[in-house]
Symmetry: C2
Subunit: 238 residues, 2 copies
Amino acid sequence: MVKYKDIANKVREQIYSGEYPADAMIPDQNSLAKAFGVSRMTVKKALDILAMEGLIYRQRGAGTFVMKNALMAGRDSLVDEYEGLTTQMKGHKLVSKAIEFEIGFPSEKIREKLMVEENNPVYKIIRQRVVDDDLLILEHTYMPADLVPGLAKEHVESSIYAYVKEELGLKFGGAFRQIHADKPGEYDYKYLDCGEQDPVLEVEQVIYLKDGRPFEYSRSRNRYDKRSYNVIDVKQDN
Amino acid sequence: MVKYKDIANKVREQIYSGEYPADAMIPDQNSLAKAFGVSRMTVKKALDILAMEGLIYRQRGAGTFVMKNALMAGRDSLVDEYEGLTTQMKGHKLVSKAIEFEIGFPSEKIREKLMVEENNPVYKIIRQRVVDDDLLILEHTYMPADLVPGLAKEHVESSIYAYVKEELGLKFGGAFRQIHADKPGEYDYKYLDCGEQDPVLEVEQVIYLKDGRPFEYSRSRNRYDKRSYNVIDVKQDN
DNA sequence: TAGTGGTCTAGACCACCCC
DNA sequence: GGGTGGTCTAGACCACTAA
């Protein structure tokens, strides 16, 4: 539908397929524009995408080159975290078991994170996430009830995100995450099979809708020996 | 110098100063184009920057709005990690004490991370990072010696990045990071004041130059009770 | 000096939201 | 239907690199 995305996809495929080998120069923007039958601006916009992904780099006056290693940007490694574990773990067996699924009034900390009032009810959910029969995560989730009407245990045990996105039609805008290491607590002993010496990797996040309303506050407590958190960072200017 | 960056800076200031209040609509692109005396494409490019920063969101057909909370994108919170701790901790007292500073041949793991040959010497550095008299990080760093000629203990104890950037003129392209929780080890007991029960937050990263050559592999072992890792994530499309 | 990528223009068409 | 943002064009000028 959109030309610059099509072009980005085609060039990306040519890189992955080895048609443009690592460290080699790819055709200049004018040639690509002619080849694709578009204007040069459109080609540049396509290349901007690949540069953000870390696949190419450009040097004014010299040309456009394929990254030596493509910054580990494996074909399907860049799944948006907003999609939830269900999407990330496609191809694996994911089971989510609800330990708690309640609705109530928010504590002060939750009010602050979700920017809601004292009398605005929130869901409180605790889930075990089991991937391929491996217990990996204990997740504490809070969501304003008015933003997610009709949430049921069946959604909680399959995919909350799918419900929110497809049934309710809400759109995610971004997230703010803090990643800590922590000592295990009572819940971790009980529901994450943690020993007393086992650290926990906690991802504490607030997810926002497109208009900036906080939509979810959660603490994902990960088994330290089975999960890590990856960040790919591509510098923009220089 | 560049118009779209100027415009982005000006609008950003207007948002921070409250001239465009949270959740309010800002002038449409045509008005801004007239006001700044540029074409609409240039205005859009400026707004693209602010959208990537999470300051505004746009709705086709409706308008451009200031984010309710600006995704916590505080004025100076978005320091690039490539700059190193020295820059991040501007305004604080940072002391880096070298525990080890050696040069030698790389192990297989290091060869793989830095993509160097067996006979290509690498620096091996272990540093304590103390911020405002607080011991926060124990950092194990490896760098190919040929990429950083003339590195001396004086740079290691002040800022390696400043040396690399300003003296050698190298440009960073990006980084790949993995964040784990880990149990403490011998080095952590000795040099990070860790107790046997204290988890460690480890940031393992490879930093790449602009052309994709790996430039540094490091493991930053952080005091779990004093440091966390923050990620701001703004969704692009929809 | 020739060729590259970065920026900018003036205008056009379209998809979408809201009245 | 009127106004919004998203895309695209054809051409221009500039900054930079490399031969």
